[in-house]
């Protein structure tokens, strides 16, 4: 490689390294702020503002889902430490089920009640056909706990 | 076969509109990407021919 090309290559790599480093620093600084949601424990500690739009994330407590009229539904969310109740009217996503990881968007009404206008279900990376999952559960393998 | 009848296949459970619109949009974008260079090539060949003719007429 002649000198001029070498010089240009070094400049290109230098620029790329500088941009990469600054981006890494920015993303590191924003690490905590990108799409953060409150956990039920944080709400119990009073960290979430009341009467403002917040996001709550947690697992749907098995047996807590109660359906009312007009798509009204209430269910409890847990992070295995604290619990809060979510009230929601609307169509639930396909992946909503007991034990599933959920993010609810809405307002905190009181210390333990969230009025949600959007419920999002988080999928895990597993894709299984129906028969396989049933066979696995029958064989005594416990259902994977979704995050 | 994952479906019993053709109607089942089109319905995709209750997800027909989602699945078919996703595949339809993809097909449109891919076809546009195939046609674009074919049309461009036609235009280019004509342009090169026209230019050559003009040069011949001038010289």
């Amino acid at each position: 490689m002649n000198r001029k090309r070498k010089q240009r290559l070094i400049i290109v790599l230098g620029v790329l390294a500088a941009v990469g480093l600054s981006t890494a620093l920015i993303t590191f600084a924003l690490r905590e702020n990108i799409n953060l949601f409150f956990t039920p424990s944080e709400i119990a500690e009073g960290k979430a503002p009341i009467e403002r739009r917040i996001r709550v994330g947690g697992l749907v407590v098995p047996g807590s889902v109660k359906r009312g009229d007009d798509l009204q539904v209430t269910f409890d969310l847990t992070d295995n430490a604290e619990q809060i109740t979510v009230r929601y009217a609307g169509i639930l996503p396909d992946l909503f089920r007991e034990g599933q990881g959920i993010i609810a968007n809405g307002k905190l009404i009181s210390g333990t009640l969230v009025e949600a206008d959007e419920v999002l279900a988080k999928h895990d990376e597993n894709y299984v056909p129906p028969e396989v999952q049933e066979a696995l559960e029958k064989a005594g393998h416990p259902k994977k706990v979704p995050q | 076969m994952a479906f019993e009848t053709f109607a089942d296949f089109m319905a995709m459970g209750k997800h027909g509109p989602y699945v078919w619109s996703a595949y339809g949009i993809t097909l449109l974008v891919v076809v546009a990407n195939i046609l674009a260079p074919i049309i461009r090539r036609k235009g280019l060949v004509e342009e090169i021919k026209r230019k050559a003719k003009r040069e011949q007429a001038e010289s």
């Binding site: 290559l9 799409n35 597993n126 | 459970g13």
Partner: protein, 248 residues
């Protein structure tokens, strides 16, 4: 070995050689993409089992994942071509970089739209500003930026150098897309296809891999088609192009 690579590099740097070679490759790529894509997609749509929790909506995966992979691979290709443009001033790399941009943008668009359509029934929303979705949207904007820059600068060589800088700088977005699902709390799930023990049922996995291979062949064919047009356009004064078109 090095001498051989150097010779190959110089050969590929010649538009005429590139044009001839890709002309021979094109029918094979087209045949291969048809042979992989049509059975792959038909199997994915009608024969692969439904997913336990998502039902049939998961069938979007057979276009969503290949499109995402190609959108990123296309950007890598454009950035590498950009380095070659800036350092070695290779004309052929300028043409490849320019041709990849709209095709990569198309696949990024397909990825975002199909993901959005898939997200509505499964997650419960068309769009969420999480790190994976946002970084993928930035990739589409980077592609559009490269296209706009190419269109705005009249001189082909200056345009190529300007877009090379933009595409190289934008390449930092690629690791962010890839690792966003691990670094942050995203709604998007982590990768299902892994080198060791994929988290996806084998029947679905092999269908998906067939579709990925097919879409890559299609992408290769599209890039070749478009680059050959670019060669005709930029080399139209050369005698071999005139001969090819049949005017001399």
């Amino acid at each position: 070995m090095f001498e051989y690579l150097k010779r190959l590099y110089h050969k590929f740097g010649s538009p005429r050689y590139f044009y001839d070679l890709t002309g021979k490759m094109l029918p094979w790529l087209v045949a291969l993409s048809v042979l992989l894509l049509i059975p792959g997609l038909i199997y994915g749509l009608g024969f692969a089992p439904p997913e336990k929790y998502q039902g049939n909506s998961y069938r979007v995966i057979y276009i969503h994942v290949p499109a995402a992979s190609i959108a990123m691979a296309g950007y890598v290709m454009m950035a590498v071509a950009g380095v070659i443009v800036l350092v070695w001033r290779m004309k052929m790399a300028e043409m490849v970089a320019k041709s990849v941009a709209p095709i990569g943008a198309s696949f990024a668009f397909i990825c975002l739209v199909t993901g959005s359509i898939w997200g509505k029934p499964t997650w419960g929303t068309w769009w969420v500003w999480d790190a994976r979705l946002t970084s993928m949207l930035i990739l589409l904007f980077l592609y559009l930026g490269v296209m706009a820059l190419n269109a705005a600068i009249e001189n082909a060589q200056s345009a190529a150098r300007a877009t090379a800088v933009l595409s190289i700088v934008g390449a930092v977005n690629l690791p962010i897309i890839k690792y966003s699902v691990e670094w942050w709390n995203t709604l998007h799930q982590p990768a299902s296809i892994r080198m060791t023990s994929s988290a996806i049922d084998p029947e679905m996995l092999y269908t998906l891999l067939t579709c990925i291979a097919g879409f890559y062949c299609l992408f290769g064919a599209l890039v070749i088609l478009s680059t050959r047009c670019e060669i005709l356009s930029r080399e139209q004064r050369s005698s071999w192009v005139k001969k090819l078109v049949g005017v001399s």
